[in-house]
Amino acid sequence: MSESISPSNHDAGPFELVCPAGSLPALKAAVDNGADCVYLGFRDATNARNFAGLNFDAAAIAQGIAYARARGRKVLLALNTYPQPGMEALWRGAIERAHGAGVDAVILADPGLMRFAAENFPELRLHLSVQGSATNVEAIALYRRQFGIARAVLPRVLSLAQVEHVVANTDVEIEVFGFGSLCVMVEGRCALSSYATGESPNTHGVCSPARAVRWEQGPRGLESRLNGVLIDRYGEHEHASYPTLCKGRFDVADETYYAIEEPASLNTLELLPRLLEVGVAAVKIEGRQRSPAYVAQVTRVWRAAIDAARANAARYTVKPDWMTALNALAEGQQHTLGAYHRAWK
C-alpha cells in the first residue's frame, strides 16, 4: 500500500472532500491523498462522463469499494444522465447494480429514476446530482419530499450569499463544486452540445464529445471544430484548449472574443473558510476524465487546505505552493471564482 493521507477529525459537522475517479488507479489516488468520498460511474450512458476508456465495470467497482472501505472512505455512484425513452431498463439496472455493489449513495438527476430508487431500494441513500438543476430551496424541497434525498449538489451558478441562503433553509445536506472545469451554464439545462453534435450531457452523458472534434492546420492558424462548427482558431504562440463549445472565440457584432466563457478552471480555495462557516456539507472536485496523477495532486492540495481551514479558519490563507500546484493543472492555466464571485456574472 502506498503512503496514505487521512482526513483529520474535528468536532464541527462533517465537511467532506468528494473526489473524482474515472478509473481504479484514480480512485486509489484519491483515497491515498485524503479524499473522504470518491465518486465514479458505470461504463455506459448512465453517467455524465461517458467517455471512451473511462469508468467502472462490476469487478472494478467491487475492488474500488473494498479499497475505500478498508480506509474508512465512501464511494458514491453517479447515475446522473436522463434515462432515454424506451431505455429505462439500462438506468434501473444500474440502480440495482449500485445497490448490489454496496455503494454509499447514488447521485441521480432524473425524477423518474429517483422514484424507482426510492420505491425499490428505500435504504439506498440518494444525492441529487448537479444535473438535476436544483438551484433553490423549493426545488430541493420537492426532491426531499418526493424521494427523501439526503444531499443536493448545487449548480455552479449561485453566489456565496445564495448558497448560504439555501443551506440555511433546507435540512438537505448541500454539496458545492470547489475545483475543476467550469460549466458556465446551469447544469442539466444546457443543450448546446446536442445542438452542435446531437449528443448532450442530459441525453448521452457528454458535452462537446471527442468523436465530433477535428483539429486542422489552416492558412490562418490551428483550427478546432466540433461537428464542422469552428470553435476556435489559434495563433502560433497561443495555447490551444479542448473545443468545449462554450469556451471558444466567436464574432458578436464584429468583435471577436470569448463571447460565453474563457477556458478557465473553477478554484474556490480562498472561499473555504466561508463554505465551512455557512454550513456546506461537502465540496466536490470535478474531473472524472482526468488522470490519476491529476486526481492525486488536486486531492492532496484540497486535503491540506480543508484541514488548515478546519484547524483555524481565522488564520487560514491560501498557500502559494497550493496555487502553484493547482495552476499547473488548470484549463488554459487560468482560475476563476466563477459565480461565487458576483463580478464574474
Partner: protein, 298 residues
C-alpha cells in the same frame, strides 16, 4: 383539432411593443398564450400587474392564458416572486423549474420545456403532482416522443415547441451585458437593443448561437411546419410558436392554415422560412444535431 400556442416572450421589448404584440395575438387564431418573464428577473418593462392585465385582455378574447415562470431561480427574491405567481389564483402557470412544481402543491399546472421530462417515469410523476400538459424538451426526437406518447398518462396533453429560435441554455452570467463589458448588476438593460437576441457567429461567419441575456439560443430557427402530419400522427395536442419581433401573426396564420388543411406542410414550411430572422433548422425532431435542416419527413 390541434391547438396553437404562442409561447412566452423570450426577449426584452419596450412596453409599447409588448402591448401591441399581444393585441395582435388577441385578434389572431391562437388558442393558448403563455405570458410573463421566463429569462431574467431584472427585466421590468412589464411588472407582474401589467402581465395580469394582458392576461385578462387575452382571456376576454377567448384565449387560454398560462403564466410562465422564470426558468432559473437564484435569489430569495426570485423564490418570493415564484410563490406569488404560483398563488395568483386566477391563471394556471407553466412551471419551468421544479421549485414551481413544489409551490403548486398539487394544483394543475403545465410542465414547461425546461423541466427535463425525458421519460415515462418522470412524466407519470409530474402527472401525479398536477401536470395537465407537458412541453417536450427541445432536444427530444420524434422517435423518443413516440415512446413517451405510448405511455402518456390519461388526460395529459402534449405540447411541442414548433417554431422559433430555441432556448438551449441558461447561466448565472449575462452574455448581453458581457458583450458591452458591463457587469450583470449594472447591465443597463442591454437586451432591449436586441429584439430577436444578439447573434454570435463563428469566426468564419457561420451564424451559430444567439445571446439573449442569461439565455443562449440557437441562431437557426426551429421550424416544424413541414412536419405537421407527423406531429398529428404522434398525438401532439399543442404546437408552440415562440414570439419573434416581426411576422409572428403571419406565422400563426400559416399554422392555422395547416390545421384547417388550406395549406400543405411543405408550402407552409417554405412560406414561414421567408419570415424568419435566420435559416430554419429541424435536426432535433429527426434525432440529428439540432442545427441541421433535414426537411421532409424522415
Amino acid at each position: 383539432m390541434m391547438k396553437i400556442a404562442v409561447g412566452p416572450l423570450l426577449y426584452y421589448w419596450p412596453r409599447a411593443s409588448v402591448l401591441a404584440f399581444y393585441e395582435e395575438v388577441a385578434a389572431g387564431p391562437a388558442d393558448i398564450v403563455y405570458l410573463g418573464e421566463t429569462v431574467c428577473s431584472r427585466r421590468h418593462e412589464l411588472r407582474a400587474a401589467d402581465w395580469l392585465a394582458v392576461a385578462e385582455l387575452l382571456r376576454g378574447a377567448g384565449k387560454e392564458v398560462v403564466l410562465s415562470s422564470l426558468a432559473l431561480i437564484e435569489s430569495s427574491a426570485d423564490v418570493t416572486a415564484l410563490r406569488r405567481l404560483a398563488g395568483n389564483g386566477r391563471f394556471d402557470i407553466e412551471a419551468n423549474d421544479m421549485g414551481a412544481v413544489q409551490l403548486m402543491q398539487g394544483r394543475p399546472f403545465v410542465a414547461g420545456p425546461h423541466l427535463n421530462v425525458y421519460n415515462g417515469g418522470t412524466l407519470a410523476l409530474l402527472h401525479r403532482l398536477g401536470a395537465r400538459r407537458w412541453v417536450m424538451p427541445l432536444e427530444m426526437s420524434r422517435k423518443a416522443l413516440d415512446v413517451l406518447q405510448a405511455a402518456r398518462p390519461a388526460g395529459m396533453e402534449t405540447e411541442v415547441f414548433a417554431l422559433g429560435r430555441m432556448p438551449l441554455a441558461f447561466s448565472a452570467r449575462c452574455f448581453t451585458a458581457r458583450h458591452r463589458n458591463l457587469p450583470k448588476d449594472d447591465c443597463r438593460f442591454s437586451c432591449i437593443a436586441h429584439p430577436d437576441g444578439l447573434r454570435m457567429d463563428t469566426r468564419e461567419g457561420q451564424p451559430f448561437l444567439v445571446l439573449n441575456g442569461i439565455q443562449t439560443q440557437s441562431a437557426a430557427v426551429y421550424n416544424l411546419a413541414g412536419q405537421f402530419d407527423a406531429l398529428a400522427a404522434s398525438g401532439v395536442d399543442v404546437l408552440r410558436i415562440s414570439p419573434q419581433s416581426r411576422h409572428t401573426a403571419q406565422i400563426v396564420n400559416q399554422f392555422h392554415g395547416l390545421r384547417l388543411g388550406t395549406v400543405a406542410p411543405d408550402d407552409a414550411a417554405a412560406n414561414i422560412a421567408a419570415l424568419l430572422p435566420d435559416a430554419a433548422c429541424d435536426g432535433y425532431w429527426h434525432g440529428r444535431p439540432g442545427l441541421e435542416l433535414c426537411g421532409r419527413a424522415a
